[in-house]
């Protein structure tokens, strides 16, 4: 189907269903129940799930296939966001030029950075990308471009946003004053109240979702293509590739640019959902977060990085909002003494301590599931399918050596 083999097609269908039904699936608890705290089905967070999904899908094409670990991918995200906000400021709130330009600009930046960085491999490549990203962060943070040209380009720490007196030359009087797709406003939504639940279906989320599905589809095709095979060859042994007479650098550069453009698309979409951007999006911790997302989910697998992105964004947005009052609410039925002890024990892991919880989860995954969450899923699957596997005769195909 769609040029995919049946296994990939099933996976793709599952992802399609998940994206469409996310507003319902992520809201399992009624709004006024004690567990509503854990609901993730509100538009802003779902947007982040799919947008960071796009980012890590692209990152996975580079890291998962070629093995080049870029430590500066957040820079492309940031560049994309800045390009998009400038389009809002100069043209209009229509997101089409904004998202297109953000992809193009991120692509251009990745050509230049990739061309230089890919002359080295391994740790040196990582350090080069990190250095470039930090340079770009410093330029954006201190708005050196703005100081050079006179005026504002990135607006430093305050961040770039759209003002009422910006040119917006394509804007006609009746146009919406929020990002829109030909009048279809990104932040308008439909709320469906059923019983104690209230599900919110938002335009912006679905637009990002559709683009995420398109990116995912493209990534599967790349994974399964001869080009993807060549990228894997780079990962397994670049010297051998060179001895067979293949120049690997153009392939690596292509992979780098593709993943940079994915990051640009994600950055453009972030700005389209919320028309403000700042330099902190390009900081090295943001780049590190992308790497952690991939490793947490499972590097080189199709779905893994998306899961990783989801887990991290969930922790950041949900665990960080749990405070002591909430925990007291959970344990209110217990005697005061025990309640207070439990709250004291949990306290370091919630609210501002969410980084600690994330760190523990990350360590657990890396130690017990080196293949990421995907490996966890596979092990679970095997647990339930063991009998079936045993009945099957051993497969005749041999795995190629890495």
């Amino acid at each position: 189907m769609l040029g995919l083999n049946s296994k990939d097609f099933t996976l793709f269908l599952v992802v399609v269903v998940l994206v469409i039904a996310a507003p319902i699936l992520l809201n399992p608890f009624p709004s006024d129940s004690a567990f509503a705290q854990f609901n993730a089905g509100y538009p802003a967070l779902m947007q982040r799930f799919v947008i960071f999904g796009i980012l890590v899908i692209g990152f996975n094409i580079l890291f998962g296939l070629t093995g080049y670990l870029s430590f500066g991918h957040a820079a492309f995200l940031g560049v994309g966001s800045f390009a998009a906000v400038w389009m809002f400021k100069l043209l209009s709130y229509n997101i089409v030029p904004a998202v297109l330009l953000s992809v193009i600009v991120a692509g251009l930046f990745s050509v230049v950075i990739g061309y230089v960085s890919l002359r080295r491999s391994g740790i040196y490549f990582s350090i080069l990308t990190l250095a470039f990203a930090q340079m770009m962060y410093a330029i954006a943070y201190s708005d050196l471009l703005g100081k050079f040209f006179g005026g504002i380009v990135t607006n430093g720490e305050t961040g770039l946003q759209v003002y009422n007196d910006d040119p917006q030359i394509l804007m006609s009087p009746g146009d919406p004053t929020v990002p829109h797709l030909f009048g279809w406003e990104m932040n308008s939504s439909f709320t469906w109240d059923v019983g104690g639940w209230s599900f919110v279906f938002q335009n912006g989320y679905y637009l990002s979702g559709i683009l995420m599905l398109a990116s995912f589809y493209l990534a599967i095709r790349i994974f399964r293509s001869p080009f993807g095979l060549m990228l894997r060859a780079i990962k397994s042994n670049q010297n051998r590739l060179a001895y067979t007479g293949v120049s690997s650098r153009p392939y690596a550069l292509a992979a780098f640019v593709i993943s940079g453009m994915y990051a640009g698309l994600a950055g453009g979409l972030l700005a389209a959902m919320d028309p403000l951007t700042g330099a902190e999006r390009m900081f090295w911790t943001a780049s590190g977060e992308i790497v952690i997302m991939s490793i947490l989910g499972g590097v080189g697998t199709l779905i893994g990085p998306i899961l990783g992105a989801g887990v991290i964004k969930y922790m950041e947005n949900i665990v960080s909002t749990i405070n002591d009052n909430v925990v007291h609410g959970w344990f209110a039925f217990m005697p005061d003494g025990i309640e207070n002890i439990l709250v004291t024990v949990i306290h370091p892991f919630i609210g501002k301590g969410w980084h600690l919880t994330l760190g523990l989860v990350f360590m657990a995954v890396v130690i017990f599931l080196p293949g990421g969450l995907v490996e966890g899923g596979q092990r679970l699957g095997r647990l339930f399918e063991r009998r079936k596997v045993e009945e099957k005769p051993p497969t005749a195909t041999t795995e190629p050596a890495e």
């Binding site: 009422n164 700042g278 999006r281």
Partner: protein, 448 residues
């Protein structure tokens, strides 16, 4: 090479699926029936307290959170009522707001605009908050103010001192009780002239974001007007940690005054390092070298320890003030937490009460009604004397305190002493003053 066979059935199936997928969102474009965003329908109303709990301004953020919790208690009639007893408007009676109990959710802004907006969005979309209070950094406050304007909820700014918050970034749905860089400059000027004379050479270290820029601009304008010379202004990144590389050049610059436009943990670090470099004991141009910190807070003073002795700065409010409102607030806060509140805590506490009062006077939670009730509102009894919420830019006008690090502290909270209470008339400015120009409040947005 791949070869693709398109069967009629396959094409139809895929086409149908894609069409449904694309059409999915368009079915759901109808807007909901409520009159404004997050109209409270049950027996309670929810506030969002969005403060930095990590990062360079975390201390201030956590103190804000304490005060916000206290404000909610007082609104719900728990405790002694604090400033509700001294507040000039008597609309609030300690039974919640318009008969609804007040609840709150908290979030961590990490002193980052992106994170702060994500957290505020979660409060608005997931928790159904009707008002967002907080922000301990002007960059964050401006970012969240813009978000609240778009979403159609009220933003009661907490600790934000940049001129831009109610200057070029002012918004109809946003209100600021705290003072700003211009007011700090206007209040500090005469005191500095009295203490250090008119022939000084100033070196500025400035936090590189909206607050630092406008703070530096304000204080430079004031000091230059009284004859001081500005040697140099160096921008430093927020949260830099180590400022020694910025301070070393000061020694040989020929400057005899160092103005630290830093705040929070940054100010503690830069001041401590400046003192370690021996700046305070130095003599330049035949004068004692002096350090000035335009914006002070108790938490910074506590963090910097003895280094702040004799250093001038300004504050919005201080717990040592003698009026009844201050006494009431300091008593409730002290009884609950065991130490006096900071200026950041005070402004968040007052903002929460002011919002609740405006809702009660307006008789509605509708943001547009609240805006109308707050614009041009005059009140007293909140620790700052008579205060005006100016309608043109949503900035509060009140007296400003000029402070100095206590030379001989008697206890651990005795870190700052009040040098002068600068009267409101001296710090007032026109709403189209060049440092505040270019802003546009826009229309009030009730959302929905």
């Amino acid at each position: 090479m791949t070869r693709t066979n398109y069967s009629r059935r396959g094409v139809l199936k895929t086409g149908g699926l894609t069409a449904t997928g694309l059409a999915m969102p368009t079915i759901f474009t109808a807007s909901s029936a409520s009159a404004f965003t997050n109209e409270p329908t049950g027996s309670s109303v929810k506030f969002g307290f969005n403060v930095p709990q990590t990062g360079p301004y975390a201390e201030e953020g956590l103190d804000e959170l304490r005060a916000q919790e206290l404000a909610v208690e007082h609104l719900n009639g728990i405790g002694d009522g604090g400033m509700l007893n001294t507040f000039s408007s008597k609309a609030l009676d300690g039974t919640g707001i318009l008969g609804k109990q007040v609840e709150f959710v908290t979030g961590d802004t990490q002193t980052k605009s992106d994170v702060a907006r994500a957290s505020a969005q979660s409060m608005i979309q997931k928790d159904g908050c009707i008002m967002i209070n907080g922000g301990s950094s002007s960059g964050v406050a401006i970012a969240v103010q813009g978000l609240c304007q778009e979403a159609g909820v009220i933003f009661m700014a907490g600790l934000t001192h940049s001129n831009d918050t109610t200057g070029k970034d002012r918004k109809r749905n946003g209100f600021r009780h705290f003072f700003n860089g211009y007011m700090s400059g206007a209040a500090l000027g005469p005191v500095l002239q009295g203490a250090y004379g008119t022939e000084r050479r100033a070196y500025h270290l400035t936090a590189d974001y909206t607050w630092g820029w406008t703070q530096q601009e304000s204080i430079q304008a004031v000091t230059e007007a009284m004859g001081w010379e500005t040697v140099q202004n160096v921008l430093t990144p927020v949260g830099a940690g180590d400022f020694s590389s910025y301070i070393a050049p000061v020694l040989n610059s020929g400057a005899d005054v160092l103005i630290l436009n830093h705040y929070g943990g940054d100010m503690v670090n830069s001041l401590t390092q400046a003192v370690q470099f021996g700046l305070k004991d130095k003599e330049v141009n035949g004068k004692n070298f002096e350090i000035i910190v335009p914006l002070y807070s108790e938490l910074m003073a506590a963090g910097a320890g003895s280094n702040i002795q004799g250093v001038y700065g300004s504050m919005n409010w201080n717990w040592q003030l003698p009026d009844a409102g201050t006494a009431a607030f300091v008593r409730s806060f002290g009884e609950k937490y065991g130490f006096p509140p900071s200026g950041a805590a005070h402004t968040c506490y007052v903002q929460t009460l002011l919002y609740a009062d405006a809702v009660t006077r307006a008789g509605s939670f509708n943001p547009c009604a609240v805006v109308e009730a707050l614009e041009g509102f005059e009140f007293d009894g909140m620790g700052n004397g008579p205060v005006l919420y100016r309608a043109e830019d949503h900035q509060c006008f009140k007296d400003v305190l000029v402070m100095k690090g206590t030379e001989n502290p008697t206890n651990q909270y005795d870190t700052l002493e009040i040098v002068e209470v600068t009267p409101r008339a001296q710090v007032e400015y026109a709403e189209d003053h060049p440092m505040f120009a270019g802003g546009d409040l826009g229309e009030c947005n009730p959302g929905a």
